[in-house]
Symmetry: C2
């Protein structure tokens, strides 16, 4: 009836198609490899001719970018809701919960993880907009480590550049090895991800308050 309503209807249909394209793209990347995504294959699976996809995405890279953003938002929110669901205010524990949620999401969304955390697609560089949620995640991490420092659970070195670099490298290192060498398992049972509590403990040992600095 009203213009707004019609546009809304059309807009919703359009969004539906966009989502379907992205879903199919993920599905194909799962079987063919992230960098081997073919627009023609996507079009075939959606039931379109390849050029029609350009009504929804300006290029193949735009699809990668949309998936990057989708993934970054998902993993950030997965981390946040895991922390919110936990009934604790212990900053250290919240940090650990976040890492576990992160790891679990990565194992369950390997295609998106690869896009997000490896530089695996030749010409692809995420747009600032798509990258923003990743920065949120890094800030969240800093926030909880700072909280642990303030609570006297960690030495202040833990939130230094070196501390952050160590934290992300060690956790991402386990994830990376897991995804590369033994992808078909769960976060809890993986030969590498299983060691996540160990590396977190190593980190805490290094940045114990009152002594652990250098």
């Amino acid at each position: 009836m009203s213009t707004a309503q019609e546009l809304d209807r059309r807009g919703r249909r359009r969004q539906q198609t966009i989502d379907e394209i992205l879903d199919v793209a993920v599905e194909l990347m799962q079987t063919e490899g992230v960098a081997a995504l073919s627009l023609s294959a996507v079009a075939r699976k959606v039931g379109m001719q390849p050029p029609s996809l350009y009504q929804y995405f300006a290029s193949k890279m735009a699809i990668y970018d949309a998936l990057f953003q989708r993934g970054a938002e998902q993993v950030r929110d997965a981390q946040r809701s895991a922390r919110a669901a936990a009934g604790t205010t212990d900053q250290l524990e919240l940090g650990m919960i976040g890492v576990a949620a992160f790891g679990k999401w990565c194992m369950e969304n390997q295609v998106l993880s690869q896009l997000l955390f490896w530089r695996t697609v030749p010409g692809f560089e995420p747009s600032p907009e798509a990258f923003a949620p990743s920065l949120d995640m890094l800030n969240d991490l800093r926030h909880y480590l700072q909280g642990a420092v303030d609570a006297g659970q960690l030495d202040s070195g833990a939130v230094s550049d070196d501390g952050i670099a160590l934290f992300t490298s060690m956790t991402a290192g386990l994830l990376s090895q897991q995804l590369a060498n033994e992808p078909d398992t769960t976060y809890e049972e993986g030969r590498f991800t299983r060691l996540m509590p160990v590396v977190l403990d190593m980190f805490y040992q290094r940045y114990k308050p009152t002594r652990g600095k250098k």
Copy 2:
């Protein structure tokens, strides 16, 4: 004169061409991306027509495989000669020297590193032959850690599956982050690789003899 000599001449010329193709391939991967290697571009740069390359390699994947093997041999040998050049028999120190040599090679051969340690090229799986030097490297690592255990420098847990997984994950984690986030620097100055001694120390702290087990 003799058949052997002539075949040798031809064989040497052939090997020269093969090497040139591989060199050009690395060069192009540096500028265009590892997964974006184009045989046509290689052929152009070598001064051939694309189909002529098939005289030397059965497919594009065969080129990747040759590069994989080349890289694996290079990095293994770089590690070994660094250890041989060191004037020590201290197993722990030899382990550290190996890691440093490994890291340095990776920073100086980023294209090959990516091929070797990330799963970045869609259809590519290294042949067992190409993969063998990587196994050598893992055995070398095990050997030196075992040596440190035998010398009473480390707890035996260091050579357990978990210990090895931890060691490789932490070192590869730093390298990975360095290559992905700040590739244009040296091993010594990189924001992440600079922390290599720190993570090695963390490892040694965890597997100190006489106490450090669990």
